[in-house]
Symmetry: C2
């Protein structure tokens, strides 16, 4: 069989290590030029394929591709763009296959979360049905850590490390000042549905009394009375209280705390974060001085404090996806299988996309303490290896030396335009 | 002259490197046991002296003291506590001297910002007047970088590095997603009066079009029309817009943007950050999807990404303060004198506290571009060396290994209690 092209796309929210996966895909493909002629990357994810705006990665030097390993963000552009079902929008799938055909693309690597695994799965089915079978591989990526089967998701370890380190550092700051200044500090972290990231904040403390004193998980309905009681206890006992709150923290009725009815001067409902809501609650009910931080994109782009484990795994899933494709596997995703906790050992296996698509893995209840405010020993055992090791980027003049690609376009071959 | 004791206190907001200064003071004092018997540290800053709750640093091992160099926060506790004028509260000064006398304290090292330099200066004058002359040294510390005479302030370089790196990383994230998601990203940084920290965000970009596209300084009155025009231009031209805003950004009439009249569901005025105000403005007037981050304490406690230059200088001012004291100098502060930009060279000199106390050094207008939204080449020349170099803390199991001191109390010698 002669060599064919591959298409690689980044999907959904980017991470500190998604480019490490791209690096794994491209470097591994380059070792098999007899099978993969070129890796085309979607400019802005799958949209790049639909509008036939692909990037010629053969135009990038080996050195540049290697530098992707330490560069955060999505080097080719990502997209929040979910293909509809075949019934709703057949034209999109047909267009995709049409573009793949025109560019002799025999391999599709889709680097994303649940939605993307669904898309990759569908493309695999439809390409066969349309008489142009494409080898479709999902490649896992999500800071939310919510993909099933895989023990963890590339992208999560680094955001977990960022949140744990930041909690630890801010706690030292707050404790130093608690006598005369801020008593309560609130850190808002990502995770709208699953509390994995918030749980990682718990790694900052080991002894009773250590920060964070309270974690607010999306999985545990918010109980204001119990929360305020605990804040007061902490301030009384330890002089300060550090709270890590997930953006997805919600009341029993499912209403997000962040939607607490805050209005601006004109009476417009204000889209705010959850941290100011929690902080204001503490001030109003308990009168403590507070500060809050909203980590937002800083947490998922913080390549400067990436977890070495995460970087290794992000690369490994990219590499494995190409190897699986070349071995004839399709409609699968490389998954991380944990062999042991101590010492931490893992390997890559494959799992069918049909078992992964559209499923969410929530933080198990046994990872949350009985009172709902902390993490258990089991959670620590799971989380600790994932943040282990530092993998610093190179620096120049005090700043990380991140790479920018040429991102040269592949010449379009179709006459038709497609509008997304 | 026989050996006497020294008193060291941390004052005001702590930083990622104030403990490196403490390390410099204590290690240097330990080399001169013939002159300085012990360094007592104030528990919670100057309050520790007033209530006679001091920490015996001789109880800490050399290894522990060395570890202060890489530990953020204030290891002995700091305080926001400004001694009033002598007329207003003579009792406080008398008490201080009484405690110094009871513990044979001949040296006072006060590690803080403008207010603390004023206090150190006053204590020097009063101790003489009271017939118990104490050698008083100010030791500079402030993330705000607003002390006069010294070229820069220990603490600033690390927060500057954090802000520059975070801006650079978040910008890569936003740019990757701009096609289908967030177009405007706002990062709120510290600096209520001076825009030094906001200016540091400007280091993230070098070429036209690079993020940050807009910096909002406290020194430049906020002009909503010009601001929104610029945001629109950036999104049109570059697909995205990254904004670094100082918490001190204000309207021409002096009103902070953060006091924009936001009210909660009950109609109470809400103390919010400036980032959500700016972000909501963009959404309301231009309709762009936005995200915002509030760095808050994370920025000044981020020892994991401290500037090596800053750590070195923080240690050096502590060391120099002790040497100056032993050389008979009093009522002075070690200042950093820049000898050259390229290569960056600096040395420590001394300056009288009377010239430093209660004075603020603002960001010069020539460091801000004509349009008020960016930094000039002169600003870059000044700022770049200050963030240079990485000085990573040691890690264990994925987290920085920060030190906790014993903080054993010095036995009180006075019968009287003092209430602050």
């Amino acid at each position: 069989m002669s060599a064919r092209n591959a298409f690689y796309a980044q999907s959904g929210g980017v991470t500190a290590v998604i480019n490490a996966t791209a690096c794994g895909v491209i470097e591994t493909a380059r070792k098999h030029k007899d099978k993969i002629r070129n890796v085309y990357a979607g400019r802005n994810g799958i949209i790049g394929a639909l509008v036939e705006d692909m990037i010629d990665t053969n135009k990038e030097s080996a050195k540049t591709i290697a530098a992707l390993r330490h560069t955060p963000g999505g080097a080719f552009g990502s997209a929040r763009y979910k293909l509809k079902s075949l019934e709703e929008n057949k034209a999109e799938y047909e267009r995709l296959i049409e573009v793949f055909k025109a560019h002799d693309i025999g391999y599709f690597f889709y680097n994303g979360g649940n939605d993307s695994m669904d898309t990759a799965h569908k493309v695999s089915l439809i390409s066969k049905r349309m008489g142009f079978p494409v080898t479709c591989l999902g490649v896992p990526k999500t800071v939310d850590n919510d993909l099933p089967i895989t023990d963890n998701c590339p992208g999560f370890g680094s955001v977990a490390k960022y949140v744990a380190v930041s909690t630890q550092e801010a706690a030292l700051d707050v404790l130093s000042m608690a006598k005369t200044s801020t008593k309560v500090f609130v850190l808002e972290v990502m995770g709208r549905h699953a509390g994995w990231i918030a749980a990682a904040g718990g790694l900052a403390g080991k002894e009773p009394g250590d920060a964070p004193h309270i974690i607010l998980f999306p999985e545990i309905p918010f109980n204001q009375r119990a929360f305020l009681k605990r804040v007061k206890e902490c301030v009384t006992k330890y002089d300060y209280c550090v709270i890590v709150v997930s953006e997805g923290a919600a009341y029993k009725n499912g209403k997000f705390l962040a939607e607490a009815g805050t209005r601006d001067a004109f009476g417009h409902a204000q889209l705010g974060g959850v941290a100011p809501v929690v902080a204001n609650m503490v001030r109003e009910k308990l009168g403590y001085k507070y500060h809050y931080a909203v980590a937002d994109y800083l947490q998922r782009s913080a390549r400067h404090i990436a977890s070495a484990t995460d970087v290794k795994q992000a690369y490994a899933v990219g590499e494995a996806a190409v190897k699986m494709a070349l071995a004839g596997k399709t409609a699968v995703m490389p998954v991380i299988k944990r062999i042991s906790d101590k010492p931490y050992r893992w390997k890559i296996e494959s799992a069918p996309l049909s078992r992964i698509a559209n499923k969410e893995k929530m933080l198990p209840r046994r990872y949350i303490t009985k009172d709902g405010f902390g993490i258990t020993a089991a959670a620590r055992r799971y989380l600790e290896p994932l943040i282990r090791g530092e993998d610093y980027p190179p620096y120049i003049n005090g700043l990380p030396k991140y790479v920018t690609l040429k991102n040269a376009p592949v010449k379009p071959r179709l006459k038709t335009k497609f509008v997304v």
